[in-house]
Each structure stands twice: as C-alpha cells, then as structure tokens.
Amino acid sequence: MPGMLEGKQAVAHLLRRTGFGPSAADWSSWSTLSYNDAVDRVLAQLDEPRPADPGDFDAYVPGSIQQVWLERMLAGTGAFAEKLALFWHGHFATSNAKIVDPELMWRQYALFRDKGAGSFRDLVKGVNRDVAMIRWLDGNANRKGHANENYARELQELFTLGIGNYTETDIREIARAFTGWGSRHHDFVIKKHFHDEGEKTVHGQTGNFDGDDVVDILVALPACPKFIAGKLLRFFSHPNPTKEEIAELAHVMRSKDLDIKATLEAMLRAPAFLDRKHYRSLVRGPTDFVIGALRAAGITEVPAYVHGAVDRMGQILFRPPSVKGWTSGKGWLSSGAIVERLRVAGLIGAAAPPTAADNILEVAFQGDVPDTLRDTLRNLDRPKRIATILGGPEFQLF
C-alpha cells in the first residue's frame, strides 16, 4: 500500500516506538521479520517478567534506581514493558523530590512494570495503594471532615478522565471516599477512624464509596478510555491523533475490558501506525535519546555521565518536574537540551566499538539517510561520524 512503511523500515519504526530502537547487536535478528511477526515479538516482551534486582542493589545509593532502570532499557529484553513503564511513570508522574525515599519510587516502578500491560482498572487500584503516590498527593492528610483534595483532583484530571470531565463537587466527594487511605512507614493502610463512612455522590452515583469504588466508577465513564487512548496514541504512534482515531482505540479498550496489552496491539496493527506521515514524527525524549544512541552505537553499559546528561536534557527518572509529567515534542528541544545532546553524541562517538561504527547507518536509519546527512558525514573520522549521526537532527526524531 502506498504511503505505508514496509519491510525493515516498518520493523525498525516499531522497535523505536515500542522500545528504544534497534541495537547494533540485535538488529539482524529483527530486520528479516515480517511486520506482523515483529509485532508478535514485541507484544511478547510485555510478558517478560521484571528482572531480579542486581545482587548488590541498594535503592538508597544515589542514582541506583535510575541506573538499574536504564540498564534494563539498554539490554532490550523486555523493551516494550520498560517503555510502557516509562509511559505510566510519566502518566502517574510522582517525584522523589517530594517522596525522598527511593525504595518507594522503586516499588512504584515495579507496579508499572508488572501491571502496566494488564487491566487499567487494576493498575489504577494499584496506584490507589502505592505509598509513593499516597505521599506525593497528600493521602495521609486526607481525613474525615477535613478532606485533602489533591489526589481526588489529579486522579480525575491527570490519571483517568482529563480536564473538563468532572466537577468540583466530584473532587470533593471523591476526596471523602479516599479519607483514611494512607500509609504507615512503607505500607499502605486504611485508617478506619479517619475514613468517612457517609454517602458520597460521584458522577451521579450515590453510595458509601471507598477508593476502589471510585475507580470502578471513573474507569466506566466514556471519557476514561478516550483519555487513555489519546495519550497512548500520542506517546507511541503519532503526535496529533484525530478524534476518530482516538474514539476507535477507546472503543477497543472498552470492548477489551480496559486491557492495555490488547489496546496496544490494536494500535500497533492499525494502518495509521505505519502511515508514512508518522514516520519520524515524534521527538525522542532524553531517556529515549540516550538509550537509543547507546544501542545504535553498540555500547552495552550505561556510562556514569548519563545521569548528569539526562538531567540537563530535562528528564531525570523518578523526578518528573510535576504531577503533570514530562513535556513532549518541541518541549524537549530547548536549546540547553540540544547542546547537551551534541555533547553526549560526542562522548558516545568516542567510545563506540569500531564494528558497530561501520554498521550505524543501517542500525539507526536502515539506510534511509537524507542526502544532507550523507554529505556531512563525508571525510569525518569514525568517532565524529558517529557523533554527527547521533547528535544531528535526524536522530532526534523517531
């Protein structure tokens, strides 16, 4: 079909969107697959169990949780599951800047990694009980008679429905349903004496609701699958999905009882996913850029400088700037960030093994290289060639 990505271009597009792009080591095992077989294989990555933490792992060693997560992304075994966890981390954005307990952040990541591809209903109920989230949105301050509305608001605005799909009354009533849902040390607890047992009216339904009842009500509203489908499309597929495309995917999500894996599969197999106009239409975020560049250059360990670099590019894992999550698209292209991308490209270029360097145009672009880039690469030595490929504009898009 004209206008559609085909062959290895389609497969590489799939790997960039559902993971962190092909690596110098594994591209040859993907490049000959049909697109549909490649989709089967990335979907199977969603079932890859979360790897065991390294033997000497200590979440309290500064940077360790980011390091281990980046290592998992770089390894690529469960690439789609890690990318999906990154999506949920941005969606339920919680920052260690307030929590100041990396063990709790690590547990939240485990929730996204383990339950991210299952039922959205179960995932949100997991978030209700997530201690990092409880601390993030002041769950322990939410008590009968003195509701704290922080979680009730963001649960609707940012997590399930989107702005404009709830009233201030819904916020107040939902806050009451969550009264007493708090934490003690690292554990979720329901503090019965703080819980409001009265009737609440939430989106037109009345009853003695608690936090889980609220989630059942919210995810059953038509706005919920629409909101999530739109976000999935913008993150994985293309920047400006139409209302019809969102409605279609929302319909799938509803008919599959909010199963995320089934929703993602429908998205990946929809013609729009391979539409040429969406080819390289998204801007790589800092994590995507760094991991994608390391993979393309054949580097298999996460260098220490990455931690400072992703900070200056605007994305420290476990430290999103606000509960709204990270920016996207043009928002990543601040000038300080681009200069930092060039710097990192230079470092990766200098460290890349010669074998991978010979192959990088194929791994990064499947040979589909604009003339402008090809001209520029002439007469460059190997490290500068790699640096120019990774730091140039084409590689910032995926």
């Binding site: 200069v339 880039l373 910032q396």
Partner: protein, 386 residues
C-alpha cells in the same frame, strides 16, 4: 501544521487582516528609544497571597487562619490596613525606595484550581481557549526583530508564556553548558539545513540551529557576583549577566518553586518569601548600579493564591485571586486594585477584583510601548507606572 517564520509572516500578509498584531511596536521602538526588558517571575505552586499581603486589621483574617495568621506585631505595616509578611524585608526596602507596585486581588473569571490549567491561563492570557502561544510570545511575534535571542527562560523547559511562532526563545540553567563540543560543526550545519524542512524535521532543525547560534555568546558569560543566595538567587545572578550582556533580549523568565504549601506552611513560607524579597531587592540594586534601572521591569506572579481558610495539615489548599508585584524604577509605588473581601468568599475562595490582563496590559504598554489590545483583548491598563 507548523509554520516557520517566513511562512507565518508571509501567510499572514496574504491573509490580510488575519494577523492583527502590532508589528510596528516592539523591535523598532526598542531601537528608537525606551524599550524595556521584562523580567517575569513565576512563584510556582500557588503563593499564599493572604499571608503575603496581610489585611492585619481585619478580624476575619484571624478567624480564617487560627493557626497560620501572622501576629499583628510581626506584620510589616506598610499601609493603614495592609502589611507584608515578616519575611518580606526585601519588599519593604523596595517599597521605601519607591520601587514596588502591589496589585491586590488579581485573578480571572471562573478560577481554575489546577496548577497546570491555571498556569496555562496566566501564561497564555486566554482563559477560554485551548492554549497555543504565550502572552509574551505573542508580544514578541508582534515585532520585526530577527535577534537570535529574544527571551530567555532560566529553567529546563520552555514555559508556555514564551511560546510563539518566531525563533529566539532560549531556555538555560547553566552558561557553561552552551559550549558546543569541537568536531560537531557538521551537525550544527545540519540543523540549519533541516530548518527549511516540513513538520517535525523543521522544528528540530530550527530549534537546534537557534541553540547553536546563541550558544557561543552565552558560553562566554559568567553569573554576576553579589549578595544572592538560594536557587532564586543563583537564577537572578544569571539574569543580571544576561541583562548586562546587551544580547537584544526582550524578556527573562524565572521560576521559583515550593509555593504549594498544603502542609506545615509557616516555616516554608517564611523561608520562601525571605529568599524572594532579599534576592529581588538586591537584584534591583545591582541592575541600577549597572545603569540598567530604566531598562528593566520585573513582574512577580503566581498561578493562584491559596484558600482563605487554613486546612488541618497546617497548610492551605489551592485558591483563586492573589497579589501581583511590579518592581522597577518608575513604578507607581503603592497599592493597586481592591483587596478582595474576606467576608464575601466563594467556597472559601477569594473573588478577584482585578483581571490579570489589566496588569499585563499595563506592562506591555509601558515596557514594550505596544498597544496591548491585539495581544490581550480589551482590558484597561492599570496605572502601574508613573
């Protein structure tokens, strides 16, 4: 569809009246005469206006704030009925030097209590529309300037206030990071060549080319010295260097976080306001010493004030209207706008008395010598400048 600058201006000219922007105003006027630079500071999180500018004689204040009210003895009484938080000795000093205009009760109709949405509203000045460009960004679009550096945000992400159709908006957190590594000249050239391409390639190309062009200039700067401290102090030191460097800037935006004081507010609010006041007072002194006093107007805003009554966590929840501070030589030092009623509240939220676009209108008129109407709509500018 993403338009580059040429297409944007060309298309607008072809469409005749579509682009009702005052294209004369900014760039030309600046070169001609008294164009000023706007320093726009966002107190991120929602500053508690009631404990910032305090109606200390109103008994209702103490009823609403049994735990958080500032005792009358501690209030810095700069007016008959209104005073400043004890941490704001810096603002009191500015006030005594005729450098501080305080606008009370600033907000907008149908207040939104979400940080994000309310920030969007303040940054775009378009409460009824899906946000696209910022209010400062639109003002910059109104100018013919092709300066590669129009506005700097001293933060990691470009704030929506500066988003616009034309290039020249730069974000940064550290000057030294603008040194481009050697050997990447080819990559730099690629960004320029991508700038003429469509869609995402063009966007990446233009953003990159712009970054690299200004990088050299910025890499040579060092933060100014002076009695500054904390993150806001560090950012103001950078601001001073940028302002002194004569880069053709129209705006420097800063953000100071920590104002979302849902719990245990008293110590954190004291610390925040003390840092804010001292650093801004010193900033004003430094820029006047550098001979830039007539060139700079500082506006300090927050996305909302906080609720009039305190909560049970020793803090305050998201609210509505709050004060805006306009600092500089030539301001009408004093209070502007009516302090919102503490009796006539809406669910414990203040009813705004002055639309924030009246503040912006005054700033655009005075600082950029431009007709604010095409940017903001029909809002009567406040008399904030002498």
């Amino acid at each position: 569809m993403i338009l580059n600058r040429r297409q944007f201006l060309g298309g607008a000219a072809a469409a005749g009246a579509v682009l009702a922007l005052p294209r004369l105003a900014l760039g030309d006027a600046r070169r001609a005469a008294a164009q000023k630079i706007l320093v726009f500071l966002h107190l991120n999180g929602g500053n508690d206006g009631l404990n910032t500018v305090i109606p200390y004689k109103n008994p209702r204040y103490r009823t609403l704030r049994p735990g958080l009210a500032i005792s009358t003895g501690q209030v810095r009484k700069i007016g008959d009925k209104l005073g400043l938080h004890p941490g704001l000795n810096g603002f009191e000093a500015l006030w005594k030097r005729d450098r501080l205009a305080i606008v009370n009760g600033v907000g907008y109709p149908k207040p939104d209590y979400s940080h994000f949405r309310s920030t969007e509203i303040w940054f775009t000045a378009e409460p009824e529309k899906t946000p696209t460009y910022g209010w400062i960004g639109r003002a910059l679009d109104g100018s013919k300037s092709d300066a590669p550096l129009r506005a700097v945000a001293l933060q990691k992400e470009q704030p929506l206030s500066l988003a616009n159709a034309t290039p020249g908006i730069v974000t940064m957190t550290d000057f030294r990071r603008f040194r481009v590594p050697s050997g990447l000249e080819g990559a730099s050239d690629l960004y320029k060549r991508y700038g003429d391409m469509a869609e995402a390639r063009g966007e990446v190309g233009r953003a990159g080319a712009q970054a690299l062009e200004v990088a050299g200039k910025i890499a040579a700067l060092r933060p100014a010295g002076g009695p500054f401290y904390a993150n806001i102090g560090r950012d103001l030191r950078m601001a001073i260097s940028l302002l002194k460097a004569d880069l053709g800037l129209d705006c420097v935006q800063l953000s100071m976080g920590g104002y979302d004081t849902h719990s245990n507010q008293t110590p954190s609010h004291q610390r925040l306001l003390s840092q804010l006041g001292n650093n801004l007072n010193n900033f004003q002194t430094e820029i006047e010493k550098a001979g830039l006093g007539d060139k700079i107007v500082t506006v300090v805003m927050s996305e909302f004030g906080r609720r009039a009554n305190e909560n049970l966590s020793g803090g305050t929840d998201h609210g509505s209207a709050g004060p805006v501070f306009v600092i500089g030589k030539g301001v009408n030092n004093g209070f502007h706008g009516e302090y919102p009623s503490l009796d006539d509240l809406d669910n414990y939220n203040f009813k705004y008395t002055t639309d924030f676009r009246r503040v912006y209108a005054s700033v655009l008129k005075h600082a950029y010598r431009m007709d604010p109407k095409p940017i903001l709509g029909d809002f009567e500018p406040l008399e904030l400048f002498a």
